[in-house]
Amino acid sequence: MKKIGKQTFSIKDNVFIRDTYTIVGKKEGQGPLGNKFHMIVEDDLWGEDSWEKSELKFQQTAVEKLMEVNQLKKNQIDLMISGDLLNQITSSSFAARALQLPYIGVYGACSTMALTMGLGSLLIDGGFAENIICVTSSHFCSAERQYRLPLEMGGQRHMSSQWTVTGSAAVWLSKNGSGPRVKNVTFGKITDLGVKDANNMGAAMAPAAYDTLSQHIKDTGIDYDLIVTGDLGTVGKGIVNKMFKEDNNSIEKKYDDCGTIIFDIEKQDVHSGGSGCGCSATVFGAFLYRKLLDGDIKKLLFTSTGALHSPTATLQGESIPGIAHSVGIEI
């Protein structure tokens, strides 16, 4: 058995994270990580005629560039695992249509990056694949019109709301090579403590983040240098810190959240922080991965968090189910 503890899969073989490629929109480019992204697209439409087509271009280009930079040929890629926020994960399947790679589409809302990386690592460790590309994307405009209101609708966002990141990141996992390695993967349980406010996703996801994080730490017993959650924003980050503190196991000093890293919360008017599949993906690809390469950190616990929110279910009175998946990475 490669399973340790209650919920964690231990990767015995080598699964290297060989490279990443990140593309973000203008607002993300103006944020604190602006100079770290591989590509910044100034025009949100990127020459396409709809937001959805623009988003798929983000995802497709991220994969193409990742392959181009690393001189990867199509026949070397065994699988592409991808996901996004839109209905029927259209950005992913349409990007896969253009890329013509064997494709598995997954839906994990904003938890998708860790989900795809976890699945990819298991497949490589199982000996089914040598090279896998994991990719996710989100787009502020396509998400806003699907989940909230038309863009031109006047009105105020609530202070607890978050700003969907426009961006995509592709990650190359390989059996061969060197660099940071995926060591442990924990897929989370759905955790739902009854939050119904679609303007407060951080609070909806925080219990799931705490649950997966604490389970992963318990299962592996590893003392991580840095623990990062996906997109809890200031609200969810505060709650996670509080929950660990109550366990007398404060992680505050080594804990951060991608939603609060990607934007300057004070200056960029994003209220509680960033969110979306692209949030944890681009922060990992552009910032956290480089920290591992540079040796700033040696052990990273990367946990993407997702609010499996559906406007239909919310209207029917359902609360918002939260999920979190952890990927333990070491160099």
Binding site: G25, L151, E152
Partner: protein
């Protein structure tokens, strides 16, 4: 004086709306429905006309006034034409505003493209 009272009364009605938004954190559609129904009720009891006398456009421009116009239209027509009047009176009175929104909305949709709000 009309101008000042329009500003003040209109502003106060909007402040009430803002308090409702910030307190209940519901979709704006709830607020708009509440406003139009309240306006119709106040119109039915003849209260809203008094507010219009004080606030001029400050009372007619907010959606409360839209509700008031609807109710008054239906009541006037009902008095002269009976049931059919009750059915159509409100619609007739408010038709210019609704039709304008529809026409302009369609034209704008044809002419302009959605913009990213960054």
């Amino acid at each position: 004086m009309n101008y000042i009272m329009s500003f003040v009364v209109g502003g106060i009605i909007c402040v009430i709306g803002q308090i409702i938004i910030d307190t209940f954190k519901k979709n704006n559609a709830y607020l708009l429905v509440l406003m139009v129904v309240t306006g119709a009720a106040l119109g039915y009891f003849g209260i809203y006309d008094k507010l219009v006398e004080i606030g001029y456009s400050g009372a007619t421009v907010p959606l409360l006034g839209f509700g008031n116009t609807l109710a008054k239209g239906a009541m006037e027509e009902a008095a002269s034409k009976g049931f059919m009047g009750a059915l159509s009176g409100g619609v007739i009175k408010t038709a210019p505003g609704v039709a304008a929104a529809l026409m302009f909305g369609y034209i704008v949709a044809v002419v302009f493209n959605p913009k990213s709000n960054k």
